[in-house]
């Protein structure tokens, strides 16, 4: 492949760009970028667009391969990428989902305001730290038996309800009701189950977190009201996924597919794109295991929700109503969906890796609750910057298979961030700004705002492209990091 330059990229509009198939003979479809012009030049700095171009070679890929404005270099698929393959025999690629299957975000709303919560910042951070296991190797409070694991892999977040850790309303406000029905635990290895056994109800480490914040600005009043959001309202964001169980499922199946690929005559420019036909034995095994791992992640976020509610009760007392789920979105997942391809409704396998579903008003897959407004799309920023609540736009289906960005997107490696950031100083500055952070200095440096792209510009890009409507901007008050 020749080097990619700005002049190879064609403008489709102020927020959409295309690398045509004429760029490289191996491309089956164009590569498309959703981004403001200012972000496009940054994106060219790493190899994420080269990885996007590699993604266009997937067997059975349709329409285009996409990246969102928070894209950064990954392995195989870029992180922030979306690609769809023809059902049933197009490829399924575990690298198009990622190792942290169903890493995702959940937003809880409360009846309290910033004024109620801000004075309790230190107590709240302590309570969250006490109730929510975080960090590398910290086990959950609830070890899972073999029978329970089978039920969790099959029924997802519903298992948590049966144990008293949630409500029907929680499930109704979770993507896919917190369970992919195609899951089959028989395809999840014993090793994956062992790794997940003591990790339920934990957030892990890295960029995972629980963050208490408030609604700093309402951007669209009618939908905000429908979502139950109001100015200065205290809210809670949870970011975590399937932990070691998901990592092991991905590892197990990427290994299988690297060996199996040749039998199907698949040759790809990057081994991490290893794939097989969706309807092959290996493809179905992976998909069923991926669905099971996704179910584990939804159950995990449900347990963390319960832990947040316990922490909330400990700080604000039993008279304060428990925080409620607004929505829960996955950003590393594959789903069978129907989208317009060349004007024809077509069933496809949508791969979202660091990308969030963003279905608009009227979409039949949305619960009745969000059928008029479009689904909430949750975009976490960094510990010092804004996060956003967006709504799927009416045109979202036309772009990137109804998908949106998932965050602000890393721009500095962890090592580079640690070199640039004085963590104690940053922690003090955040405190002066009213933000209490529970994290090691190392984690503070690695996850500093400077390590990420400008989330405001990322959101401007996806809104400008017509994928979403911005509803509310959130600001942090207290952050628990792994």
């Amino acid at each position: 492949m020749k080097p990619l330059r700005l002049e190879n990229i064609v403008s489709l509009g102020p927020y959409q760009w295309e690398i045509p198939t004429s760029f490289w003979a191996e491309m089956r479809v164009p590569a498309r970028i959703v981004a403001a012009r200012e972000l496009l030049e940054d994106i060219l700095d790493d190899r994420s667009l080269r990885q996007l171009i590699n993604t266009t070679t997937l067997p059975g890929i349709v329409k285009a391969a996409y990246v969102m404005p928070d894209v950064h270099e990954g392995y195989g698929f870029p992180i922030g990428g979306v690609a769809a393959t023809r059902y049933p025999d197009g490829a399924i690629s575990p690298g198009g989902i990622g190792y942290d299957i169903n890493c995702g975000v959940r937003l809880l709303t409360s009846g309290l305001t910033r004024m109620d919560v801000e004075p309790m910042g230190p107590a709240l951070v302590d309570a969250l730290h006490k109730h929510i296991p975080s960090g590398m190797g910290t086990p959950g409070h609830l070890p899972v038996s073999a029978d329970a694991m089978e039920a969790i892999l099959t029924t997802g977040a519903r298992w948590a309800l049966t144990q008293g850790y949630g409500t029907e309303r929680d499930l109704e406000h979770t993507e896919s009701n917190g369970c992919l029905l195609q899951a089959d635990p028989a395809f999840v290895s014993d090793r994956a189950r062992q790794r997940g056994r003591d990790q339920l109800g934990t957030i892990g480490s890295g960029n995972h977190f629980v963050e208490v914040g408030y609604v700093a600005q309402i951007l669209e009043a009618e939908i905000a009201k429908d979502y139950g959001l109001f100015p200065q309202q205290a809210v809670i964001l949870i970011h975590t996924g399937s932990r070691g169980l998901g990592h092991q499922v991905a590892t197990d199946y990427i290994r299988q597919m690297v060996s199996a690929m040749e039998r199907y005559g698949f040759r790809l420019p990057d081994r991490e794109l290893a794939c097989v036909p969706f309807n092959s034995e290996e493809g179905q095994a992976y998909f069923k295991a991926m669905c099971a791992a996704a179910n584990f992640a939804w159950c995990n976020r449900q347990l963390v929700t319960w832990e947040v509610r316990e922490a909330w009760k400990a700080v604000f007392g039993s008279h304060a109503s428990a925080p409620e789920v607004l929505y829960d979105v996955a950003h590393n997942i594959a789903k069978c969906e129907t989208h317009l391809v060349e004007g024809i409704p077509t069933k496809v396998i949508v791969h979202r890796k660091g990308a969030t579903r963003a279905f608009g008003p009227g979409h039949p897959e949305l619960p009745e609750r969000f059928r008029t407004t479009g689904q909430p799309v949750l975009i976490p920023g960094t510990m010092g910057t804004s996060s956003y609540v967006l709504a799927g736009g009416s045109e979202s289906g036309q772009i990137a298979f109804g998908s949106c960005c998932h965050g602000s997107g890393r721009r500095l490696s962890r090592t580079a961030a640690k070199k640039q950031v004085n963590a104690p100083v940053l922690k003090s500055e955040l405190l002066e700004a009213g933000i209490h952070v529970q994290a090691s200095y190392r984690r503070i440096a690695e996850e500093a705002p400077v390590a990420y792209k400008d989330v405001d510009l990322v959101v401007t890009s996806v809104a400008g492209a017509g994928i979403v409507v911005p509803i509310a901007r959130l600001k942090p008050l207290a952050v628990l990091k792994g």
Binding site: T251, S413, T415
Partner: protein, 136 residues
Amino acid sequence: MRAWIDHTADVVLSARGHSLESLYTESLRALTTLLKPGACVGNQRIDCCHDVELRAPDRVALLVEFLSECLTLTYLQHTLWCHAHFHFLSRTHLQARLFGQWTASFENDIKAVTYHEAEVRMASDGAWEAHLICDI
């Protein structure tokens, strides 16, 4: 000899050895040191051992799968593996015994050793070199 190189969201693990066996051992120690810095420095206590046998389509895949296997065993057995003795090591097949020490904690969470841009090659001085990207 081993090193870790910057990558936006991950770490590039780079290792070098005078033979394939020493390359594999150095790669293993690099991985373990990423999990817990200082783990493979000085005299290490040996608490346990574990036998592995793997087959892969080629030399690069074999190293990736070896390190993936060691990573899985690290998490399952809470063990830091710093030594390996190879009974057999070819392009596509290995049998080895790992030696490790138990640990209560890790400092970093490595999700996976990836195949992305993975390389195993012989350098001009006859030493073996490997570069692999780990998802952290």
